[in-house]
C-alpha cells in the first residue's frame, strides 16, 4: 500500500474535524474492505482517520420502539446482542452470517453501510426494516442513503454515526452465500410492519440493493411464502458474473424471498 498519515481521534466530533481539515482523507472502520483495497493500491488516501478509538460510535441500545446501533459496532456484537436478538432476531441472524467469525470481530455495521457493496447483507436489512441512518449532519432513510453501486448519499466530511431500526411485527432474512467469499450471491430481507410489507434484495442488482414491489403487493394480500408462488423476478438489470448469470440470480431472488418469508412466519 502507498504511504499515508495515520490519525486516531477519540470522538466522532474529532474525526469529523480531521475529515474536514485534511485533504484526501478516508475513514477507517473495521478495515476489512478498505485495507485489502489499499493493499491492491486501488485506494491511496493521504490521510487515514481510524474510527476505532471513538467510543461514542459504539454500542447497542433499545430506545422505545427502536433499536439503535452505533456505527462502529461489530457484526459479532450485533449477532450476540441480547437486545437485538429479542427485538429484531432476523437482524442478529443476518449479522451472524456475514463473512467468518474473525471478520465479524472487526467488521462494523457503519463500515458496511457506508461502503454499500452490492453483495453486502446490511443494506437489505436497512431498506426492508425502514431504518434511519443518522450522520453527523442529518438523518436519512435507507432509500435516500443507498444511491447506487458502492455509492451513498454521504457528502464530503459526513460520517455515519448510528443506525436506528424501528421494531417490526415480522421479519426474515435468507441468503445464498457465495461459497468462497460468503458474500450474498442473492440475499432477501422481508419485513412486515402493520399492514405494510417490504422486500429488499441484495447481491443481485446492477445498482446495488433494491425493493421488489411485485412481491410486496403479493405479501401484503397474505403474508405467507405461498403468496409468492408463480411470481418471478425479471433477469433485466440483474448482475451477471463468473459466479452466477442473471437468469440464475433472478431465479434465486424468488427462492430466497420464499425462504425469508418462511423464516419470518416461523414455517
Amino acid at each position: 500500500m502507498y504511504a499515508f498519515t495515520y490519525h486516531r481521534p477519540a470522538t466522532a466530533r474529532q474525526a469529523a474535524g480531521l475529515l474536514a481539515k485534511k485533504e484526501d482523507a478516508k475513514l477507517l472502520a473495521g478495515g476489512h474492505t478498505l485495507l485489502p483495497t489499499m493493499k491492491q493500491r486501488l485506494a491511496s488516501p493521504t490521510h487515514l482517520v481510524d474510527l476505532g478509538g471513538c467510543a461514542d460510535l459504539r454500542g447497542i441500545e433499545r430506545k422505545g420502539r427502536n433499536v439503535v446501533i452505533g456505527a462502529m459496532t461489530t457484526h459479532a456484537e450485533v449477532a450476540d446482542s441480547a437486545v437485538v436478538r429479542e427485538a429484531i432476531p432476523s437482524l442478529a441472524y443476518l449479522a451472524s452470517h456475514i463473512g467468518d467469525p474473525h471478520v465479524r470481530h472487526r467488521g462494523t455495521i457503519g463500515g458496511s453501510v457506508a461502503n454499500n457493496d452490492p453483495a453486502a447483507d446490511y443494506p437489505a436489512a436497512l431498506m426492508a426494516l425502514g431504518a434511519t441512518i443518522v450522520t453527523n449532519k442529518r438523518k436519512l432513510t435507507a432509500e435516500e442513503f443507498f444511491t447506487g453501486l458502492y455509492e451513498t448519499a454521504l457528502e464530503e466530511g459526513e460520517i455515519v454515526v448510528r443506525i436506528s431500526f424501528p421494531l417490526v411485527s415480522k421479519a426474515g432474512y435468507a441468503k445464498f452465500r457465495n461459497p468462497a467469499s460468503r458474500y450474498a450471491l442473492v440475499g432477501v430481507f422481508v419485513a412486515k410492519r402493520g399492514s405494510e410489507v417490504s422486500v429488499a434484495v441484495t447481491g443481485a442488482g446492477e445498482g446495488g440493493v433494491f425493493r421488489w414491489p411485485e412481491a410486496e403487493a403479493a405479501l401484503k394480500a397474505r403474508f405467507a411464502a405461498k403468496s409468492l408462488d408463480g411470481i418471478k423476478h425479471t433477469a433485466k438489470g440483474i448482475n451477471a458474473d463468473m459466479h452466477a448469470d442473471a437468469e440464475y440470480r433472478a431465479h434465486l431472488i424468488g427462492v430466497m424471498a420464499r425462504e425469508a418469508v418462511a423464516r419470518a412466519t416461523g414455517k
Binding site: Y2, P36, G99, D100
Partner: protein
C-alpha cells in the same frame, strides 16, 4: 514513523513503525514471532489469526497502529512453561495437520471457538465455525477431531484450577 505500545503474550512491547505496518508484520518482523503466518494476505485463509483483546482476528487485515494499547495473544503465547496448551496437544494427538502452515491460525481459531461456544462442540458447529480458516492439504477431518477433543480437554483442564481457586 509512529509509536505503538501493546501487550503481546503477556509482555509489554513498544515499536516504532511505518503507519502502513500490518499487525502481522509487527508480530513477525519487529517482534520476531514468526509462528503467525501470512497465507493469502487478503483476509480469506486465516493463517494469520491471533487474539486481539481475547477475540480472534485476521492480523493481515489490521493495522499495527490500530491495536495501540491492546492485548494480543499469538500461537507462541499458548504454551505455559514448555507444556503445550490442551488445544495444541489435541492437534498433536489427532494429527490435525499435514504441512502445518495453517496450523497456528487453526489453533487460535479453535481456542476462540471454545471461548465463544463452550467445551462441547459437535462436528457441524466446528466445520461451520472454521469458515475463516483454509487448509490447502485438505486435512480438515483430523482438524475437526482435534478441535472437539481440545475443547473437551480445555474444559477438564479448567475445572481443577477453578476448584482450587475456590
Amino acid at each position: 514513523m509512529a509509536t505503538v505500545s501493546l501487550t503481546v503474550n503477556g509482555k509489554a512491547v513498544t515499536a516504532n513503525v511505518d503507519p502502513r505496518t500490518l499487525l502481522v508484520q509487527l508480530l513477525r518482523e519487529n517482534l520476531r514471532l514468526t509462528g503467525t503466518h501470512v497465507g493469502c494476505d487478503t483476509s480469506q485463509c486465516g493463517a494469520c489469526v491471533v487474539h486481539l483483546d481475547g477475540k480472534a482476528v485476521k492480523s493481515c487485515t489490521t493495522l499495527a497502529l490500530s491495536v495501540d494499547g491492546a492485548t494480543v495473544t499469538t500461537i507462541e503465547g499458548l504454551a505455559v512453561n514448555g507444556v503445550l496448551h490442551p488445544m495444541q496437544e489435541a492437534f498433536r494427538e489427532h494429527h490435525g495437520l499435514q504441512c502445518g502452515y495453517c496450523t497456528p491460525g487453526m489453533i487460535m481459531a479453535a481456542v476462540d471457538m471454545v471461548s465463544r461456544r463452550g467445551h462441547s462442540l459437535d462436528e457441524a458447529t466446528i466445520r461451520d465455525d472454521l469458515d475463516g480458516n483454509i487448509c490447502r492439504c485438505t486435512g480438515y477431518h483430523n482438524i475437526v477431531k482435534a478441535i472437539a477433543a481440545g475443547a473437551e480437554a480445555m474444559g477438564k483442564a479448567a475445572t481443577p484450577t477453578r476448584k482450587a481457586a475456590e
